[in-house]
Symmetry: D2
Subunit: 385 residues, 4 copies
């Protein structure tokens, strides 16, 4: 019999940003129950956070080791099914490996690990255990992104020729990591964030989105990464020329010093017969352009959408869904997958439509390769894994 | 000690639209636990729906009478705190009265009742019992609507002079109530919906929004209601001239035969020095216009917003929140109010910022008065209660 | 043989606004030559203005009487063909009558005259003389407005059911007529402007546009006109409910106290199968909405447009044409008409597609009727002529 | 005494596109008189075109040699002041040199010549003769572009850090040069167009715009040019990474295979404190973004604009000006310059605000350098002249 899936969480205590987002996303569809957590490396904060979130006292843990140990010891009928890891990048790998070793499925914030090597080890572990790992590349969770992907897949635009993806943010325009901004502090610290700043934090989202929609793979990059704000150790800005495996070319911009921008991820894709345009900040509209015909405004919640888009929508047209619902789509699909596996069924393609450890590896390789390209005088650098 | 608030539900079984929306809205912030329901008038559907939603078998009821009786009999520590009523309009009043009589707080879909008389009785009952009733005029739950209200309140625009509010939908452009559309069927049936169609279903939202943002009250109406699609018994279209209590004038359009429109609620308000514009379908933007200065684009999630707007936001700028989050704001504020009352505290103004039985009465009077105005040859009709 | 058409002008001297617009509009397509003028009631300004505009000294006149007399005396091969009258409303009628009496064709700014009676006399004179009179309702000169009209005419939307037209401006939000604003001064003075302010100045444009696009006639009005800024003698704001001759209903808003608005004329029209939306401030886009299909973005300059739209365009898609080009379309069609008549040909429908004395009469009647409706307690007032 | 400036034209006969645009642009402000032309290399077309445009029979020439000879022989009081050259790229240089040799000022379509060497010779000739040459990079003629430039110049945004400029068109998505499209035919032919297709035709516009607004100079490029449509000889698509002389980085995309795009030139510029965004297809809006403050919507025709923007506007806010007016600004400034020089005055900075032979040289060098960069394996290529 189908049942709610039980979620634990590592990180995401008070004042963290993304942990709260994960909890909301998991809540929305009523398929997941938040049952336990090791919400902070500080015992006090872990405890207070857990209480605030109505966790039972005996399932508020102060280390992830404790979490795995004690949850493993619980009877199957109440044991956590999966753990969400929302710590900074450097603290993804160990708890993820340990989770898998203890038989727990895993949700991880992107980028998946601190480096490519860790990601590969994680992949091996996932394969060995047969457990499920989900990477929260949120933006591919949007229904109109799925509509876009479906229309490309069906060949509506003919062969894809060009991709333009940009992800400008402005929040690192000042040296805010020195002004008490905790989010800025770890993201700009190589030890915690990895070898790239803007490309790791948001460039990987843009790269993933471009591959998700087009069904193509990036094969070469030519990167110009910049440290714009003096005093910073990692790139806060970058421009990358792309080549895809079908010969299409592209441009990817990811910057965190675009003063006045919020989270303005946009993508345009062009094929032989037409193109598409999608803006994350107005996500319920997908503009479809045609040669010699008027452009069309595809809208979320409409009957003419593809099944895959409809599967990822909750309300009729004109009732805007947003970022949290896109995030929730990833959680719902993940939960449906776990339910299917629990019931001994094979998850459908629709259920499995969430980013996996494979996407994590591509993301880590993307970081490696744009950083290497940036250091090189040579124009094109192979995007190998 | 603060605890989760327990919700029951009447109506909202499988295939209903708005019940699911209420459950998502209640889920989002993790302050409410869905514990029981009488989800359909059909016992089978009630049961199946309850099971699908993971309700315990002994809290799946088949009538609302049973729900109130059995929940009343449970120990206080697990008893339902409030009930959400999401049945069609004609079936709001009786369960709401019974809920209050049994000591349960109430959330009701708008319009609050089938007629004004019932709404007045409900108000009296609310006052007698000291319980809390919340009416889900969703659109005033949007953070940028609250920002708009706050700016008007602070006098940024000077005296308000003009209001233009429009709510065009297209879904009743055809006689879909005869084609098996259950939503259309009851909404176009006077026995189930009340004495107005478009004005009851969406005109009341527009009227509420205009009063909520401006802080003014409509005092006179001049209505032109139309049955555009032949064979229909209730207005599916209407245009209303308005007068407000400070002398401002306005226009309100609510129509369900605007072919090709989704849920395109928009409002423009003008004062002596400037004005504001908000579109429900792109709700994270509030356009602020000034005499002789560039217009400003206020955006959800930004640090410069008012406290009341921030209180009703979850994520930083550029991560769009939507309809479900606006709905959730109403539920969260309602839950915070119940928590405060449970703790013996007086709820703050921020907590009490959700539509009440008073708003329900104004809505029912609005329906009465636009219908009377429409039948009258006289230009202006007093909007009295 | 085809030749350039020669234009004279009455009014439009230095510091006037609309005269310069007429001259640019007449210049654009190279079919009209500006040859003479009585550009101001002040002889000095008339002379200086004429010189600045490179008029020959002997064709700079100081009164319109002189203009008609001296131009009449010139040989046919160099005599003015038509005169453009761009004086304030009260000074339209006499020069227009005199022009026709002297055998000159006429272009007049709207509203055509100070009152309906004058407009009717003008119509009689036009008919008697067989000359051509053109009224510059600019907004129907836009190519995408013509595209809209054509699509309605072809029945793309089925029967038209509803019209929403709004024309908000903010420039009279203050008593600027007392602060030296000459444009504001005459427009708010009943002796110079006529019996209505906002409705005469811009409401007539909105009414004309709604009839032009739909091909329908307004048959009843219910008007609420307001003097919002204290100290003003004429309405600066108004809201009007409309009925059309096919039973469709409508709303028309024209206001000049919408602080922060520029010239935000917008129209939405809905039929059985779909609807259209056009914004004057982004005039190269026509949004076409459909029941159950994605909306389409029709764009100026595209091959899929109707012939009538293409006839009124100069450059390919993506090269925005604007207000001056819309104005120029009226002048070009007028010039083509005069050229055809001069050659003894019957002008085509395409050439005759500019507002005429008939439209002027409908406009004056609209002013009369909304003013009468506003003074009446009765809801509906017949829009009779 | 000030007088109208007399224009001749080479090229631009019937069926040509850009010639008509130049004539309209020259007409608009009534400062220029079109007096003669050698409008086609085909004598018949040259004659018919001249007649259609009302040129006197004795000033319709069939070769540009004839034009220069005969105009030179006319008395100064009626002789042409300048010639506009609107032939394909390969036919710019010779008539331009000859014009200067005969003492005529020159307007040339961009790109200025077929190659850099010609452009340098032209510059030398301009300097020797003291005559004026104007290059029609239309897009810097827009008033809101001038507003943008002014705000950057005044330091409103602090140091400029990043530029994103894109110019997607879709009209070469098919091999239309083989289907009778004359515009496509010469633009895709290296002998007529020069060594680049998309970069020459539109990339130079984008490069010029980015330098014009920022006041910076591009110092390095890293180009990826593509021939997307098989069978074509020149690039129809390109992506270029940029470095500017203050260290800012940038991305420039120019493509003519972006199916469904019209002429969608857009630019975003970011500085330390804020940024700006402008779209050519909605040119009357300039979006100004700020760190921590709401973005502002600067609009054409508003009193708060800079003097330089106002100087290039004709009508009040809300009356959209477009491409032809931007073009006309270049002609008007050029005419004002000639008038000033004719009167023995030094032209003001405002008058001289049109692209010059210097801009032409930078454009030709840009073409050379992106083509060279594209052929190179090295990442960065110096943008030297």
């Amino acid at each position: 019999m189908r049942r709610k899936i039980r979620m634990g969480m590592i990180g995401g205590g008070k004042d963290a940003f993304i942990g709260a987002v994960h909890r909301i996303a998991a809540n929305i569809d009523g398929q997941i129950e938040f049952c336990c957590g090791a919400l902070s490396a500080h015992a006090d904060i872990a405890r207070e956070s857990g209480e605030e979130l109505y966790l039972p006292a005996d399932r508020i843990y102060t280390t992830y080791q404790e979490l795995f140990e004690k949850e493993s010891a619980r009877p199957a009928a109440e044991r956590m099914d999966f753990v969400t890891i929302v710590t900074p990048n450097f603290a993804h790998f160990e708890p993820a490996m340990m989770a898998l070793d203890h038989g727990f499925n895993v949700v991880i914030e992107k980028p998946i690990t601190l480096n490519l090597e860790q990601a590969k080890q994680l992949k091996q572990k996932v394969e060995e255990t047969g457990l499920t790992l989900c990477l929260t590349h949120t933006y591919s969770g949007y229904p109109m992104v799925k509509q876009a992907r479906q229309m490309v897949k069906e060949g509506k635009f003919g062969k894809i020729r060009k991709v333009m993806v940009e992800y400008p943010q402005g929040w690192l325009s000042r040296l805010s990591e020195r002004e008490g901004n905790a989010q800025a502090a770890w993201r700009t610290d190589p030890a915690k964030s990895g070898k790239s700043g803007s490309m790791g934090d948001i460039g990987t989202h843009a790269a993933h989105l471009s591959e998700y929609i087009t069904g193509l793979k990036i094969t070469q990059v030519c990167a110009d990464l910049n440290i714009v704000v003096p005093g910073r150790a990692l790139d806060d800005d970058g421009n990358v020329l792309l080549k895809f495996d079908n010969g299409a070319s592209g441009v990817l911009v990811a910057t965190q010093i675009a003063a006045g921008e919020e989270n303005a991820l946009k993508i345009k894709v062009y094929g032989e017969n037409g193109g598409l345009e999608w803006h994350q900040m107005e996500p319920n509209t997908l503009l479809i352009k045609w040669l010699d015909e008027p452009a069309q405004v595809y809208r979320a919640g409409q009957p003419y959408l593809s099944d895959i888009a409809k599967h990822n929508l909750r309300v009729p047209g004109g009732h805007p869904e947003g970022y949290l619902e896109a995030f929730a789509n990833i959680y719902r699909n993940f939960a449906l997958t776990l339910q299917a596996k629990a019931a001994g069924n094979t998850p459908t393609e629709e259920m499995l439509d969430f980013p996996s450890v494979e996407d994590g590896i591509r993301g880590m390789a993307f970081i490696d390769n744009v950083v290497a390209s940036n250091s090189s005088d040579q124009k094109w650098y192979d995007h190998k894994i």
